[in-house]
């Protein structure tokens, strides 16, 4: 159980940091994030909308007791990563821009897998106790 918790938190904190690293610059109107969105072809309002969605998703991930909402948050982050990766590839950008995406997917998958392991271990523990 302790190992599951450690793995869960390592992956999940990495995932949260990853999402915050794009959400916070967007909300603070950093010129780099605006330039980035323009390059990908998205409207400026989308950067803010996405940032808010990511923040809500992080809350949904971390608040315990609402398994369906947490599940939907994992789904949302997955779609976000897929769409972001697709945007780079569709534009024909050099591989250096999206080479890190497999790492992001592994972080997301790790958080999801250990989240469910943790849920299962908690319910088994509660049944045993």
């Amino acid at each position: 159980m302790k190992k599951i918790n450690i793995f869960y938190w390592v992956f999940t904190i990495l995932l949260v940091l990853l999402m915050l690293s794009s959400a916070i610059p967007s909300l603070m109107n950093s010129p780099q994030s605006a330039e980035f969105m323009k390059h990908l072809g998205y409207p400026l309002y989308f950067a803010k909308f996405l940032a808010v969605a990511k923040l809500l998703g992080i809350v949904a991930l971390l608040v315990p007791g609402f398994p369906k909402i947490t599940e939907w948050a994992y789904a949302g982050f997955t779609f976000d990563l897929i769409a972001a990766c697709y945007s780079f590839i569709a534009l024909g950008d050099p591989a250096s821009t999206y080479v890190l995406f497999p790492v992001f997917f592994i972080i997301l998958a790790g958080s999801y897998i250990f989240y469910h392991k943790r849920l299962k271990a908690k319910t088994l523990h509660e049944i045993a106790v």
Binding site: L40, Y45, F49, A53, E71, A75, G76, F79, S87, A90
Partner: protein, 126 residues
């Protein structure tokens, strides 16, 4: 509500919703003009149109099947994100109220299907 009523309503709403999504998916994958026009109007890059089409196709198939519950749950989540984003995009771009209504209707339709799916699962358990 009787169990048979729930089962029938679940299938009606789910099939109707899926048919609508198959239509959208076809439009997206074959890059129909109305889809391109709407995406451009909302400011989004047009290269996303086939991606959305494929996503809707996979989502509609996921919703119609009953075997893989998590994938089905994720499909409902994806459609919800899709419709909420559509409503938000239309509102931000300043579209007239009647253009905001179609995604709202689709969202309501989807939630009825989702709600009935959950009720149907409860019944099957008993």
């Amino acid at each position: 509500m009787k169990p048979t009523t729930i089962k029938i309503l679940y299938w009606i709403f789910t099939v109707l919703f899926s048919l609508a999504m198959f239509g959208d998916a076809f439009g997206g994958i074959t890059k129909q003009e109305p889809g391109i026009v709407v995406l451009k109007h909302l400011g989004y890059p047009v290269y996303n149109l086939p991606l959305f089409g494929v996503a809707k196709l996979l989502g509609a198939i996921a919703i119609l099947q009953a075997r893989f519950r998590t994938i089905k749950e994720w499909a409902y989540a994806g459609f919800t994100i899709n419709f909420i984003s559509a409503i938000a995009s239309r509102a931000i771009v300043g579209d007239a109220l009647q253009l905001l209504i179609p995604p709202v209707i689709m969202l309501v339709f989807m939630f009825i299907s989702y709600f009935l799916w959950k009720k149907y699962q409860e019944i099957k358990r008993d």
